[in-house]
C-alpha cells in the first residue's frame, strides 16, 4: 500500500504535467476523458499543441466561463468547451479519418489495465450485468501514432493495473507506448516494461511490489 504519512508518488496534476512535458511542440493531440484532460493545463510555455476532440473539432480551447457556454460546443466527454482562433469543425467520418488515418500524433488515455506488451484494457470489465460502451477508444488506439496511458498505478482495491496479461477485454493489442502513473513512468518496449522515471519516495523495489508484470531498468546510458 502507498505510504500516506510522507508524500509518496505524484498527484494527478503532477502526472498530467509529466505527460505534458513529453509532448513535442506542434503536436496534434487527442486527450481522453478524465485525468488526460488535465494535460492541457500543463503545457510548457512556448509550445503550441492542437487538440482534437473526436466529436468534431480540431483546435479545442479552454473551458468557457459559465455565461458563455454553447450547448452545441462540447468535447468527447460531453463537457462544454471553446474553440481557438484557427479551429475547424467537421463531421464524424472526417474526424475518424484524422484518427484512423494516423494523422493524430499523440493520444493520452486512461486505463483499467495495461500489459507488459502494451495491450490496453480501458472500456469494459467484462462483467455480465455491465452495459458495454466503447466510444472512440478502439479507433484511437488503432489509429493514433503514439498512445500514452495515464493512470493510478493500482486500483482502489489495491490490485495492480500494470499486469503481465490483461484479464479485462482488450481495447487494443500492443498499442501503448508509455505509461504515466502516480508511482512511475514506464516505457513499453519489445523486451518488456522499462522504468523511465520514479516518482518521489518510490524506489524500484516498491514499484515492483505494486506492479503485476516484470519491470526492467534501463542501463544508465539508455535513459
Amino acid at each position: 500500500m502507498v505510504n500516506n504519512d510522507i508524500k509518496t508518488g505524484w498527484d494527478r496534476a503532477e502526472m498530467a504535467q509529466k505527460v505534458a512535458l513529453d509532448i513535442p511542440d506542434g503536436s496534434y493531440v487527442n486527450l481522453g476523458i478524465g485525468i488526460p484532460e488535465m494535460v492541457a493545463d500543463f503545457v510548457p510555455e512556448g509550445r503550441e499543441l492542437i487538440y482534437q476532440t473526436e466529436n468534431g473539432l480540431l483546435g479545442m480551447g479552454p473551458i468557457p466561463e459559465e455565461g458563455k457556454r454553447d450547448r452545441e460546443l462540447v468535447n468527447a466527454g460531453k463537457k462544454y468547451i471553446t474553440s481557438i482562433l484557427g479551429a475547424a469543425y467537421f463531421h464524424h467520418a472526417d474526424s475518424f479519418t484524422m484518427i484512423r488515418g494516423g494523422h493524430i500524433d499523440i493520444c493520452v488515455l486512461g486505463a483499467m489495465q495495461v500489459s507488459k506488451d502494451g495491450d490496453l484494457a480501458n472500456w469494459s470489465t467484462g462483467a455480465k450485468n455491465a452495459i458495454p460502451a466503447v466510444g472512440g477508444a478502439m479507433d484511437l488506439v488503432a489509429g493514433v501514432k503514439r498512445i500514452f496511458v495515464i493512470t493510478q498505478h493500482i486500483t482502489k482495491q489495491g490490485d495492480p493495473k500494470i499486469v503481465d496479461k490483461c484479464s479485462f477485454p482488450l481495447t487494443g493489442k500492443q498499442v501503448v507506448e508509455r505509461i504515466y502513473t502516480n508511482l512511475a513512468i514506464l516505457d513499453v518496449k519489445e523486451e518488456g516494461l522499462f522504468v523511465r522515471e520514479l516518482a518521489p519516495n518510490v524506489n524500484f523495489e516498491y514499484l515492483k511490489k505494486h506492479t503485476g508484470a516484470k519491470l526492467n531498468q534501463y542501463a544508465k546510458s539508455q535513459v
Binding site: E54, L57, E72, A93, G126, I131, A133, P169, K173
Partner: protein, 237 residues
C-alpha cells in the same frame, strides 16, 4: 419548384413506418433532433432499429423514444452516459437489443452506406471482443476487420440553416453525425433553426448538399434538452 420544407413536425415524420431503420443524429445533446424525436413518439411507429451514437439522457428525446418501447434494437458506440437510465434498465431486462460498434467504425459504416461502399476493412477492434465472429484479413502485414455499410430508411437530423433545396449548415460540434446520416438514409428529415432563400448559403460553405436531404422543418427555438433532463421532465409531457 423544388422545396423540401414541410409545414409541421407531424408531417415531417408521417412516413416513418413500423420496423424501419432510423438514424438519429447527435452526440449527447449537441445535434440531437429532439423535436423530431418527440414527433416520432407522437406518431408511434414501433419495432424500430435506431442507429445513434448514444441512447439519450433522462426521459426526453431518444431516451423517451426508447422508454416508450418503440425501439427494438440500438446500434451505437456508447449506450450509457451520466444521465441515461432508460436504456440500461431495458437492456438488463433483456427488452432491447444492442449492437455495439466502435465510434469511428460506426461513422465509417454510415458513410459507406451513403457512398455505395458495401464493405471495407478497419484496424479498430482487432484482437478485441468486438471483432469476434467478424471476418478478418491481413493486408500489408497488418490485421483488419471487415465491416459493412449501414443504410437506413430514415434519418432524423438537426442542423442550423437550410434553403429550399435542402442545403445545410450546422453549428459547432452539433454537426457530428448529421452529414453522414443524411447520405445513408432514403429519407433524411432535418430540423433547422432557420430556412433561408436559395443563394443565401454560400456554395463554398455548404456542408450537406441538398441532394442528401428530403424534408426540412423549421424549429426556431429547439428545446434545451439538458435543462429538461436536469428538471427530470418526461416526454410525453
Amino acid at each position: 419548384m423544388i422545396n423540401k420544407q414541410v409545414s409541421s413536425l407531424s408531417e415531417a415524420v408521417a412516413e416513418i413506418c413500423d420496423d424501419a431503420i432510423v438514424m438519429i443524429g447527435g452526440f449527447g445533446e449537441a445535434g440531437s433532433p429532439i423535436e423530431l424525436i418527440h414527433a416520432l413518439i407522437d406518431h408511434g411507429a414501433k419495432n424500430l432499429t435506431v442507429v445513434s451514437n448514444n441512447t439519450g439522457s433522462g426521459h426526453v428525446g431518444l431516451a423517451a423514444l426508447i422508454e416508450n418501447r418503440q425501439v427494438k434494437k440500438m446500434i451505437c458506440s456508447f449506450p450509457r452516459t451520466a444521465n441515461s437510465m432508460v436504456f440500461p434498465e431495458l437492456y438488463n431486462a433483456g427488452k432491447i437489443e444492442l449492437e455495439l460498434v466502435p465510434q469511428g467504425t460506426l461513422a465509417e459504416r454510415i458513410r459507406a452506406g451513403g457512398a455505395g461502399i458495401p464493405a471495407f476493412y478497419v484496424p479498430a477492434s482487432v484482437n478485441t471482443p468486438l471483432a469476434e465472429g467478424k471476418e478478418s484479413r491481413v493486408i500489408n502485414e497488418q490485421e483488419y476487420v471487415l465491416e459493412y455499410g449501414i443504410k437506413a430508411d430514415f434519418a432524423l437530423v438537426k442542423a442550423e440553416t437550410a434553403d429550399r433545396y435542402g442545403n445545410l449548415l450546422y453549428h459547432a460540434t452539433a454537426r457530428n453525425f448529421g452529414p453522414i446520416m443524411c447520405t445513408a438514409s432514403k429519407v433524411a428529415i432535418v430540423q433547422v433553426k432557420k430556412i433561408v432563400e436559395a443563394g443565401q448559403i454560400d456554395p463554398e460553405t455548404v456542408v450537406t448538399p441538398g441532394i442528401f436531404v428530403q424534408k426540412t422543418i423549421e424549429v426556431i427555438n429547439p428545446t434545451d434538452e439538458s435543462k429538461l433532463v436536469e428538471e427530470e421532465i418526461s416526454y410525453p409531457w
